[in-house]
């Protein structure tokens, strides 16, 4: 109930303006980078679906990769194909089963499901960049603000992208934007899962759902409230708030470029700071 009140606050946004703005920014970003278009990995989940809709509105030159593995639910594949049909992208995607590539890794590193799960994410990233290079496209990331803050992504896997168009929208807002854009209801309402192993779900792995995570993160980041205050406002256990906060803190290394040990008097990213667009 209390969580719902915060989520209502978080959803007081206008999806039409946001859609228009993000579309414009994707178009601008690709143009400024001197690239010809954008490519993304489509999974059947809400994040990649919303990003795919935005990308297809932004530019004519878009491309999707479907890269299922044995742990990808069949319905996710079907949902991805439905989205492709919906976006009239039948000639703008490739279907690559990654299992044979992942098998090669298993021969060397063993079968630990988390290790292999991350390998899958990084194989997908490698494929996306290979296609992107071939086509002179940018790799469009699909991470949202909730996942980015929680560090719930694979470093250099789904985290390895050129730009994150929906990275300032919480999962709840991405679902709202999905509804606005006409993403199929079954995709918008689907429980989140990286599907890196069979039966994996975000809620099962994290120990809390995105409704709760979004409410806590929103109060923490946007309203700058402390653990006690958040716990009181949401009427939830302090340890749960602390757990979410710890995830945010311990994953900071995933959101930043790697630390460089200083030696010189002008060290990259410390006192040698240049913008991304730089002539």
């Amino acid at each position: 109930m209390r969580i719902q009140q915060v989520l209502e606050r978080l959803e007081r946004i206008d999806y039409s303006s946001i859609s228009e703005y993000l579309t414009l920014r994707i178009k601008d970003y690709i143009q400024n980078a001197g690239a010809k278009g954008g490519i993304l990995g489509i999974s059947g989940g809400v994040d990649s679906a919303v990003t795919a809709y935005l990308l297809s509105k932004a530019v004519d030159n878009f491309y999707f990769l479907l890269m299922p593995s044995e742990s990808t639910p069949k319905e996710d594949i079907q949902d991805s194909l439905d989205i492709i049909t919906e976006l009239s992208a039948e000639d703008k995607y490739s279907f690559i089963t990654i299992d044979p590539i992942v098998e090669k890794f298993k021969e060397s590193v063993g079968e630990d499901k988390k290790v292999i799960g991350n390998v899958k994410a990084r194989v997908r990233m490698t494929l996306l960049y290979a296609f992107a290079q071939k086509m002179n496209y940018l790799v469009i990331g699909t991470g949202d603000k909730s996942e980015l803050l929680l560090g719930y992504f694979t470093k250099y896997g789904d985290g390895g992208v050129d730009v994150l168009p929906i990275g300032d929208l919480y999962k709840t807002q991405v679902r709202g934007l999905g509804k606005f854009l006409g993403v199929p209801e079954k995709v918008v309402g689907k429980p989140s899962s990286p599907a890196l192993w069979e039966g994996q779900s975000a809620e099962g792995e994290l120990g809390f759902g995105y409704d709760l995570a979004d409410a806590v993160l929103y109060l923490m980041v946007e309203e700058m409230k402390g653990t006690e205050e958040i716990s009181a406002e949401l009427e939830i256990n302090k340890d749960l708030v602390k757990k979410i906060k710890d995830l945010v803190i311990s994953s900071q290394h995933k959101r930043l470029p790697p630390e460089i040990f200083r030696l010189s008097s002008r060290s990259i990213n410390s006192d040698w700071r240049y913008p991304r667009q730089w002539r």
Partner: protein, 267 residues
């Protein structure tokens, strides 16, 4: 006095391209004077490019001065060797004057004090006259404080040009930052009974997106001209003194209590 508000897309550190755009607008404008956004020659999100482009910015400034048209544009000026200031250049009647930013913002996404020295109010508060109209220039953040606009108005300015680089924040059905600017401009207009002319840049510069939406608040505090959001725009408007006069006949602008400022100097 007819002015053009040139709401342009400024490229970060790309002075050649920005200069071309300035020259193109100056040569095609029907207005008597063209106002460009803050740091319109250089871009706003520059980080350490700031140090690399000073010479090019100076050369570009010379080229713009050669155009011989009244213009206000933004650049970086080396005030003393190694001391840089966020500057608006006023080109008028074959002369060149500089206006400096007094409050370079350094909070949240802003990091201007890392690069720029603030203007000195004891030396740098200036007004100018074009034909019969006196005007002042207040750069972006300076309008988020009461003193610069108040000082310029008390010196006799009837028009305050506000070259800006305001990044988008709080986008929903309304745009929070746009509402904030409207409120600020209208408040200054209402208090000083001056024309407030806000010229914003547009387009992306790294994470930030400059939202455009240039606007004019009349001496009665009404927003009477508004530029497009999120895209380039050119707006022309004829300023007059009659509205300044009428607004001031029925306001207490004339009742300036200097002792407030004397008192505040000790706060």
């Amino acid at each position: 006095m007819e002015v053009e508000l040139a709401q342009i897309r400024v490229k970060q550190g790309d002075i050649t391209s920005n200069l071309e755009k300035h020259i193109d607008i100056l040569s095609t404008s029907s207005a008597e004077c063209v106002i460009f956004p803050e740091l319109s020659l250089t871009g706003y999100i520059l980080r350490d490019i700031t140090y690399d482009i000073i010479k090019d910015a100076e050369t570009a400034e010379e080229k713009l001065a050669e155009q011989g048209k009244c213009a206000i544009f933004g650049t970086i000026r080396e005030y003393h060797p190694g001391i840089l200031r966020n500057t608006a250049v006023v080109l008028m009647n074959g002369k060149r004057e500089y206006v400096y930013k007094f409050y370079p913002p350094t909070y949240g996404l802003f990091e201007e004090r890392r690069y720029f020295q603030p203007g000195d109010p004891r030396k740098d508060v200036k007004i100018f006259k074009f034909k019969d109209i006196s005007f002042g220039v207040a750069i972006c953040e300076d309008v988020w404080h009461s003193e610069p606009v108040e000082a310029l108005s008390l010196m006799g300015a009837s028009v305050i040009f506000v070259p800006s680089s305001s990044p988008l924040r709080g986008l929903s059905s309304t745009l929070t930052i746009e509402q904030d600017w409207e409120t600020l401009l209208r408040a200054h207009s209402l208090m000083q009974n001056v024309w407030m002319i806000f010229v914003n840049s547009v387009g992306s510069q790294d994470e930030e997106y400059f939202w455009g939406g240039s606007m004019i608040s009349s001496p009665f505090g009404k927003i009477i001209v508004k530029g497009k959001r999120l895209e380039e725009d050119r707006l022309t408007f004829k300023l007059n003194l009659d509205e300044v006069r009428r607004a001031r006949y029925f306001s207490s602008f004339r009742d300036h209590q200097r002792d407030f400022h004397a008192f505040m100097s000790n706060l």
